[in-house]
Every structure is written in structure tokens, then in C-alpha cells.
């Protein structure tokens, strides 16, 4: 199943073994549940572990195989779901007190598609409250710890999903990425994390943070597994009006096509402000691309430097509206009060954490009469400029390269009281969300502290094929685990040749 050039795909290999009857889904799922039971008390990747449901589902997969039916390309593969993806009859909390105990009456489209592909959901993962944060510390259920160093954050907001894959709890997870919430934790946890082109994966059933930026994507230990998962969850969905009604690129089948002859642009502005050891890893990643036959050039996209401030107006503005519905009337937390308006205030005061409140207030202000044009309107104009900046870069480049995060995983608590420092964690990832473009973070060596560094690849809209091809090249050329960064030039070159494995 896994393509010739790339690293073997554990999740897809598991599925193949289960489909062929070589292994049983119940054993695979049992191993996953055992690993969770052993270490999640320490890491807190999960808000909810669905042991019984997972066992039943695995047994069903095994029954199908025994009956000669094909359960699908992810047959029996344990998958962790970020807790902002709706699951029918199962708590979906967004790690917020305000949604504690809420059970959606429906499944998100991606959950349905995973089930149809044979995947087995093992639990709902921890996250920053309503996906607002970059460290998973704003969660109402407490922080998730980084499996590589439990004194460090896993990144966020999809920190629980990233850490679950990094800890070996599940080979696959889904997260959502509004400003880097898949890629940044993937980088900090040393796994692959991918944000698709806006509109290629249905948002139906994803609890909205900032609707024009949110996109669901996969976490995996390998590029091929991420590709296989993208193929499963992507594609048009009539329930999401922003879902693109056009063929979504299939990526698993093109992974081994290499990048010889393509141009990789290293974005100067994404390196600005990054730690020196992170910059060194990205330079090394560029060399891997060159060794694979790509033309590597440094490009300037000055507009990306404007991304952070535009993002922190647009995302809170949309969030202030999206989160208005948590008013205590229909579901979730209700704090009783004499009338509807004061019930509303009391419920929201008790139900939301500080970061969510901060962003609701920021967004409300940005949209207010008299301020709209100076803030929200201006941010929309910047957004257009960022798209134009990328367009210019893609006239000469096929993919762009930069760090995913300016730093490796930072200590728990370090930035929690300094929102600006926290927001800077997303400076490299935000531009892709504003542009609606796909991007992927691939583990590429470690920093001076021995913690993982992620190399980020960016592509134009619907450029998933070239994005995954380049990711496979970086993966194959990445320094071996434990090696802080010595680049083996042969590894990158081997990608386009034969017998890379």
C-alpha cells in the first residue's frame, strides 16, 4: 500500500494486514487502548476514551473481513478525533465548560467518512478551548503534555491529537487548523500534520471557530498515512456550501513521483524571527529538496509578515459570532437567572475561559459600528494582499518551504499569561489559512534542545499533489530520530531513485 519512495505507512499497513486477515482489528484496537491506559494519565491527550465503542467497532471490522467484505482502506485503524468534531450521541465539548455533556445528534461528515473507510474511533482528544490557543493549555480539562518532554506543551490547538499520535496511542488522528492548529502541534510533537485547501474537506460537524479559516486535516506518523487519510476525508459534501464541487486531488497514488525539476522556494520572511537551530533545519531541508533534483531558490513574500495581525482580527470577529449561540437556551451549560438576558450573561461568564472571552471581546470590537473599517475591513484587505503575495511567489515556485513554528516545544505555563508571545507561535502557519492554501508539517530533525522541529511546505490552492510529493521527499531525507540534524544527502537523492526503502 505505501508508495515506493516514502517511509512505510504504519496505519495503511495495519489496514492492509487487517483486510487480508493477517491481523485482527480487535487486537490492534486493544493495543491502542492499552497504550492509552498506560500513559494518558500522564499526558492527558484524551477528553474521552471510547473503549467499549472501539472494541465493538473493531469486532465488526473483523466480522466483515471474515465474511469476505472489505471494511475499507482504513480497516481497523485506531483514530483519535479532536473534541470539536461532532460525534452522534458522544460528548463533544471543544474542551469548554459551556459544552460539557453536550451530545450531538449527528456525526460530522469526516467522522462518517472515516467510519465508511473502516477506521475505529478510540477517543476524543483535548484541545485549546474552542481551538483558541497554541499550547492546549486553555482547555477546561487541563493541559496536554508533550510526549517528548512532559514539562513542555504539545502545541495547539489540536495538541491532544498530535500528542496521541506522537505517543503511539493511535497511528492516526484528526484535528482542525484555523491558524496552524494542526501543523504547529504536529511540529512540536514530531509528527506529520496537514491542513488541506479550504473547501476540500467538509466542515459539516466541525464546531466552528473561524468559519472562513477552519479546515479539518490529518495527523499521522508518516506522510503516506496522512495522504491516505486525506484521500478518505476529502471530497465534495453538499452539506457544506463552501465545499468545492470539483475533484479533490488524490494524493496517495502520486507520493513517489518526486520533485525533480520542480522549484522549491524558501520563504525568507518565514525564517525571520525563527530560532537559529530551527532555521538550520529548514536550510538542511532545502538541501534535501535540491538533492532530490528540485531547483531551490530563496523567495520573498513580504505580505506574510502581515498575517498575524490580520488573523487576530478576522478569526476573533468570526468567533464572536460563531460562539454567540452558547447562550444557555438550548443545550450545554445553563446558569439560571431571572430573565433570558441575564441567564445569557451568567452562562457565558461561567462557561467560557479567559482566552475565549478575550477573543470574543476583541472580535466584537473589531466588527462594531465605527471600527469595522479600521479593523475588520482592513484585515480583509490585508488578506487579499497575502493571497496576491503568494500568487507572485507561485509564478516561479511550485512549493514553498519554511519552518512550521519559530521554536520547538516551549515549557508549560511559559506563554499562558502573555497572549502576544503565544500568538507569535502561529506566525508561520497563519498565512496559509488566510489564503486558503494547503500546507503540511513534516518532522525534520530536532533543535538544540533535542525536541522535534517541523519543516513546513506550502502549496497553492488544490496543490495537494505537489505538496505531498515534496513532503515525501523531506520525510525520506529527514535526519534519523535521535540525530539532531546531520543531513544524509543520500537519503534525499534516493527518493527519486529505486529501492529507497
Amino acid at each position: 500500500m505505501s508508495p515506493a519512495g516514502a517511509t512505510p505507512a504504519p496505519a495503511l499497513a495495519l489496514a492492509d494486514a487487517i483486510r487480508s486477515g493477517e491481523r485482527r482489528a480487535v487486537e490492534v484496537v486493544e493495543a491502542s487502548l492499552a497504550a492509552i491506559a498506560e500513559r494518558d494519565g500522564e499526558l492527558h491527550c484524551f477528553n474521552l476514551v471510547l473503549a467499549d465503542q472501539a472494541r465493538a467497532r473493531a469486532a465488526e471490522v473483523d466480522r466483515m473481513v471474515a465474511a469476505g467484505e472489505d471494511p475499507g482502506p482504513l480497516a481497523g485503524v485506531p483514530v483519535a478525533l479532536k473534541d470539536n468534531l461532532c460525534t452522534r450521541g458522544i460528548d463533544t465539548t471543544c474542551s469548554s465548560r459551556i459544552l460539557a455533556g453536550w451530545r450531538p445528534p449527528y456525526d460530522a461528515t469526516v467522522v462518517t467518512r472515516l467510519a465508511r473507510a473502516g477506521a475505529v474511533v478510540v477517543g476524543k482528544t483535548n484541545m485549546d478551548e474552542f481551538a483558541m490557543g497554541s499550547s492546549t493549555e486553555t482547555s477546561a480539562t487541563g493541559p496536554t503534555r508533550n510526549p517528548h518532554d512532559t514539562s513542555r506543551v504539545p502545541g495547539g490547538s489540536s495538541g491532544g491529537s498530535a500528542a496521541a499520535v506522537a505517543a503511539g496511542f493511535a497511528p492516526l488522528a484528526l484535528g482542525s487548523d484555523t491558524g496552524g492548529s494542526i501543523r504547529q502541534p504536529a511540529a512540536l510533537c514530531g509528527v506529520v500534520g496537514m491542513k488541506p485547501t479550504y473547501g476540500t474537506v467538509s466542515r459539516y460537524g466541525l464546531v466552528a471557530f473561524a468559519s472562513s479559516l477552519d479546515q479539518i486535516g490529518p495527523f499521522a506518523t508518516t506522510v503516506a498515512d496522512a495522504a491516505g487519510t486525506f484521500d478518505v476525508i476529502g471530497g465534495h459534501d453538499p452539506a457544506d456550501s463552501t465545499s468545492l464541487d470539483r475533484p479533490t486531488p488524490r494524493v496517495l497514488s502520486v507520493l513517489d513521483e518526486g520533485i525533480a525539476g520542480l522549484t522549491v522556494g524558501v520563504v525568507r520572511e518565514l525564517l525571520d524571527g525563527a530560532d537559529a537551530d530551527v532555521v538550520a533545519r529548514i536550510r538542511a531541508a532545502a538541501e534535501v529538496c535540491a538533492a532530490a533534483g528540485a531547483r531551490v531558490e530563496e523567495v520573498s513574500v513580504p505580505e506574510v509578515a502581515l498575517g498575524l495581525s490580520a488573523y487576530y482580527l478576522i478569526a476573533p470577529a468570526e468567533a464572536s459570532s460563531n460562539l454567540a449561540r452558547y447562550d444557555g437556551v438550548r443545550y450545554g451549560l445553563r446558569v439560571e437567572a431571572p430573565d433570558a438576558a441575564s441567564m445569557n450573561v451568567a452562562t457565558r461568564t461561567a462557561g467560557f475561559g479567559a482566552e475565549v472571552k478575550r477573543r470574543i471581546m476583541l472580535g466584537t470590537y473589531a466588527l462594531s459600528a465605527g471600527y469595522y473599517d479600521a479593523y475588520y475591513g482592513q484585515a480583509l484587505r490585508v488578506r487579499t494582499r497575502i493571497i496576491e503575495g503568494f500568487e507572485r511567489a507561485y509564478r516561479t515556485c511550485d512549493v514553498l518551504l519554511g519552518p512550521t513554528s519559530p521554536t520547538t516545544a516551549f515549557p508549560l505555563g511559559e506563554r499562558l499569561d502573555d497572549p502576544l508571545a503565544m500568538y507569535l507561535s502561529d506566525v508561520c502557519t497563519i498565512p496559509s489559512n488566510l489564503a486558503g492554501h494547503p500546507a503540511i508539517s513534516v518532522p525534520f530533525g530536532t533543535g538544540g534542545d533535542g525536541l522535534p522541529v517541523g519543516a513546513q511546505l506550502l502549496a497553492p490552492a488544490l496543490g495537494e499533489s505537489v505538496l505531498f510529493r515534496a513532503a515525501a521527499v523531506l520525510e525520506a531525507g529527514a535526519p534519523p530520530a535521535g540525530d539532531p540534524g546531520a543531513v544524509d544527502p543520500g537519503a534525499g537523492g534516493a527518493v527519486t531513485g529505486e529501492g529507497a526503502r
Binding site: 450531538p104 454567540a324 466588527l367
Partner: protein, 489 residues
């Protein structure tokens, strides 16, 4: 309160009409769009605004909005949706999806029966809210024990039609709303029922010193549940503002509530209390861009509009001549009959009946006065049968009273009017029987007869009544009158 002179002042009125569209399903989900079902039975994640749900635009709603735009002569344009943000328990997302700066219909007009024209600024799509009932205690918002919310109406498609401030009297405001309702019904977009809330009217009212003075400060009047309320509220509000201005005060920009029982408007909220709706482009929807082909296809589905249908009846009367002779304009009474017939959708019946050979004035009168009492049944009348019935009236073989009785039966059960008349024993009174009966009654009432002969024409009614009584209503009133005149000489 009556309309009319405002002592040198002029009222300036613009109306905002919310019309519920008669779609099969709601604006952004597949729930049935039905009035009157058990509360909270027509709901789903989308119209309950559950986390993670997303709206999908209903094509039929767009087409009905386009039909309204076409009927109002609007330009139909590419349009977008915005979010209008405010908290209210019956609004599940705490924002309403509505069209804002790029509505689907702009720049139209509506011609009223009196020939005046009211501009249409825009007619845009938006979703309705749920419905809150305050229960226990006083049953009002303040003082109720609890509130119940029904979300069946949440997400029902609305078109909001905003008129230009072209209306200058309460009567014109009423005529505009009535005509607009006719147009909405004719397009198939709405059933136009104000009492069920499927058509809701808000009025913006201001006054000024004559037609050349600048507009005054306006107040918006809510809770206008009937055409009568609309006219009364507009008249009251204009006079209230004039009184304020004439006593040296200034009109404050306000939203006011019409109290139907008290017959006055009261302050609901001031401009300062107005909500900042923080409009922004709805990121969950994409623009609607009707192309020329789609616009034409929708226009082709439009039936005749009320103005054209009225004109058709006026033409019928003119061609027929009626009482005023060929080419004469309809009388005021006939204009009312035409309005009634068009409003109730009986104009096809009238046209068919006249085509079958009955005189237009008689057909119109019987349709507007008799058939209109049961409009549902009347719309199902066969014009040929109706013509046969009216033919018997024209020939004098049935009296007006008998026609009414046969018509009621004909509308309920159908059949042959002659057979129904026979079954009721309505054979025409023989000429000699009528002459004999009249002579008998004249002899029996010499005093009355003398007064009639002295020129007191009212006594004709007395004798006609006596003849009807004696013949159990079988006599033809016109024939009796003619015989009385003949005897008087």
C-alpha cells in the same frame, strides 16, 4: 380616527413588508416549512443552530425571491448573505442570516389601483426566527414565570420588501400593502395571510411641512397585524408627531409599538438603545449569482399580476357597455367589485362566464357579491354552469333570491343549475299568475296603492315584498315593478 387633512402637514411613509415564502422546506435546511404544527417538530441541527451545523441555500426560495423581484420590476443582481448579530432566545444561532449590502432585488416599483406609484428600494432574502411564548405570571415578557420557544418557524424563508418613502396617506399605505399582498399571492411566493404572520408590515412614519420641505425624523411602527391596523397606526403616528412639533417639541427617532386596543403607538426603544448588529459577510455561504437564463426562466413562470387582471375586467365591462353604455368607465361600485373579484381569484370565473354569453355587469356583481361569500368553492365553479344560472336570471325565469339559493347549491355540489332550480321548485312564475297576484294585492291594500299612485315610489317596495311573500319568492322583482308601473299608468 379618519384620514384626510393634516393642517398643512404632509406625512411621509415607507413600509417594510416581511413575507414568508411558500417553499416546501426551510431556507437553509430540509425541514418542512409548515405553519401550525406541534412545537419543535420541524427542526434539525441546522435550524436549531447546533454547533457544527452549516446552512445550505434553498434554490426554491431564491426562485420565489426572484419571482417577487420580477413582479415588482426590480433589477435582479448577484447577491451575498451577511450575519446580523444580536442575542434573542428564539434565534438559535444568535445571529440572523440576511442579505445586507448586496440584496438579490433592487430598484423596483409598485403601481397602485389609483394609478400612484410607490418605489421599491429592495426585496431581499433572510431567515425567520423561532417564536417565543411567555407563560405564567402576567404572560408578558416582564412578569412571566417562564418562556417557551418554538423553533418550527426558525429558518423559514422570508423576503423583506422595503418601499421608498413615497407613501403620503394612511389610505395609500393600506392600498400599497393590499396591492403588494395581491402581487405576492399572484407570484405564488406567499399566501399573504397577515393574521397568521405570513405577511408582516412595519411602517416608517415622519411628517414635514408640505411636499418641498425636508424629511422629518421618522419613527418605526411595529405590530401591525392587519391592513386596518396599518392604516390606523400610520394616521395616529402622523398626528402624534404633528402634535409634538406644533407644541414646540421635536420628534425622537424611535421604534414604537402599535397598541390595537388603545388605538395608539407607544415607545418600544429609542435610537440610543438600537442594537449594533455587527454585520459581516456570512462565511458559511457563497454568493448567489442568477444568470440571464435563470432570470428569464423564473419570469416565464409568472402568472398575471393583479393590475393586469383588473385591467382585463375593466376591458370586459367597457366592451359590454353595461349600464353606462359601451366604452364607459366602471362605476365606483364596479371598481370595488373588480378589486374583490381579483383579490379572491374569481376573475377567471368572470371572464369565462362572460365568454359564455352573460352580461359583464351582472356577472361581475354576482361574482363579487354572491360567489365571493364562499371564495374557495367559487374558484371551483364551472363558468358554463354559472353562465347558465345567470342566464336564467337575465331571462327573468329566476329571481335574484332564487339565483342566490341555486348558486349556493351549485358551488357545494355542482350539477345543472336548471335541475337544481327545478328541484327547489323554482319554476318561473307564469306571466298571467304574476299579473293576477299583483292585481289581488293592489285591491287588498287600497291606501298604500293610493299613496303609490300619488307618487310615493317607496310603496313599490312594499308591493314587491307582498308579491314575493304570496309567491314564495318565485316572482321576478323586475317584472313585479314593471307590472306596478303599468297599473299606475
Amino acid at each position: 380616527m379618519t384620514g384626510g387633512d393634516l393642517g398643512g402637514w404632509e406625512m411621509v411613509v415607507g413600509l417594510e413588508v416581511h413575507c414568508e415564502l411558500k417553499t416546501a422546506t426551510k431556507l437553509f435546511c430540509g425541514c418542512p416549512n409548515v405553519f401550525g404544527d406541534e412545537p419543535n417538530t420541524n427542526v434539525c441541527p441546522v435550524c436549531l443552530g447546533l454547533p457544527g451545523s452549516l446552512p445550505v441555500l434553498n434554490q426554491q426560495a431564491v426562485e420565489l425571491a426572484m419571482a417577487i423581484g420580477t413582479a415588482l420590476g426590480c433589477e435582479i443582481r448577484p447577491s451575498t448573505f451577511h450575519r446580523k448579530n444580536y442575542f434573542y432566545p428564539d434565534m438559535p444561532k444568535d445571529y440572523q442570516i440576511s442579505q445586507y449590502d448586496e440584496p438579490i432585488n433592487v430598484d423596483g416599483h409598485l403601481e397602485l389601483p389609483d394609478g400612484s406609484v410607490v418605489g421599491i428600494v429592495r426585496a431581499h432574502l433572510e431567515e425567520d426566527t423561532g417564536k417565543t411564548t411567555h407563560a405564567g405570571g402576567t404572560g408578558r415578557i416582564h412578569g412571566s414565570d417562564y418562556s417557551l420557544v418554538d423553533y418550527n418557524r426558525s429558518g423559514v424563508p422570508l423576503v423583506e420588501i422595503v418601499s421608498a418613502p413615497d407613501i403620503r396617506s394612511a389610505a395609500q399605505a393600506r392600498a400599497y400593502a393590499a396591492e403588494l399582498r395581491g402581487v405576492l399571492v399572484a407570484t405564488g411566493a406567499s399566501d399573504g395571510r397577515m393574521e397568521e404572520g405570513s405577511m408582516r408590515v412595519d411602517a416608517n412614519v415622519s411628517v414635514r411641512r408640505g411636499p418641498d420641505a425636508p424629511f422629518g425624523t421618522r419613527c418605526e411602527i411595529k405590530n401591525l397585524n392587519s391592513l386596518r391596523s396599518l392604516a390606523r397606526a400610520v394616521e395616529y403616528e402622523a398626528r402624534r408627531q404633528i402634535e409634538v412639533l406644533e407644541s414646540g417639541g421635536t420628534v425622537a427617532q424611535q421604534t414604537r409599538h402599535w397598541d390595537e386596543d388603545a388605538g395608539r403607538t407607544v415607545t418600544l426603544r429609542s435610537k440610543e438603545e438600537a442594537t449594533d448588529y455587527r454585520y459581516f459577510l456570512e462565511p458559511d455561504l457563497v454568493p448567489v449569482v442568477p444568470d440571464a437564463q435563470w432570470i428569464t426562466a423564473v419570469a416565464d413562470t409568472l402568472g398575471m399580476l393583479p393590475a393586469a387582471r383588473r385591467a382585463r375586467l375593466v376591458d370586459l365591462l367597457r366592451a359590454d357597455g353595461g349600464a353606462g353604455g359601451a366604452g364607459a368607465a366602471p362605476t365606483a361600485a364596479q371598481q370595488d367589485q373588480i378589486a374583490t373579484v381579483v383579490d379572491l381569484g374569481l376573475d377567471d370565473l368572470v371572464v369565462g362566464t362572460v365568454a359564455a354569453g352573460v352580461a359583464a355587469p351582472l356577472t361581475l356583481a354576482r361574482a363579487a357579491n354572491e360567489a365571493a361569500t364562499e371564495p374557495e368553492l367559487a374558484r371551483g365553479l364551472d363558468p358554463v354552469a354559472f353562465a347558465a344560472l345567470l342566464g336564467m336570471e337575465e331571462s327573468g325565469s329566476l329571481s335574484a333570491t332564487q339565483v342566490k339559493s341555486v348558486l349556493a347549491e351549485l358551488m357545494r355540489s355542482g350539477g345543472d343549475p336548471a335541475a337544481i332550480a327545478a328541484a327547489k321548485g323554482f319554476e318561473a312564475l307564469a306571466e298571467d299568475t304574476l299579473v293576477a297576484t299583483v292585481a289581488e294585492l293592489v285591491a287588498a291594500h287600497p291606501d298604500e296603492w293610493q299613496r303609490f299612485c300619488d307618487g310615493d315610489d317607496k310603496l313599490a317596495g312594499f308591493f314587491t315584498g307582498q308579491v314575493m311573500k304570496a309567491t314564495q319568492g318565485k316572482a321576478n322583482g323586475k317584472a313585479v315593478a314593471a307590472e306596478l308601473r303599468r297599473l299606475r299608468g
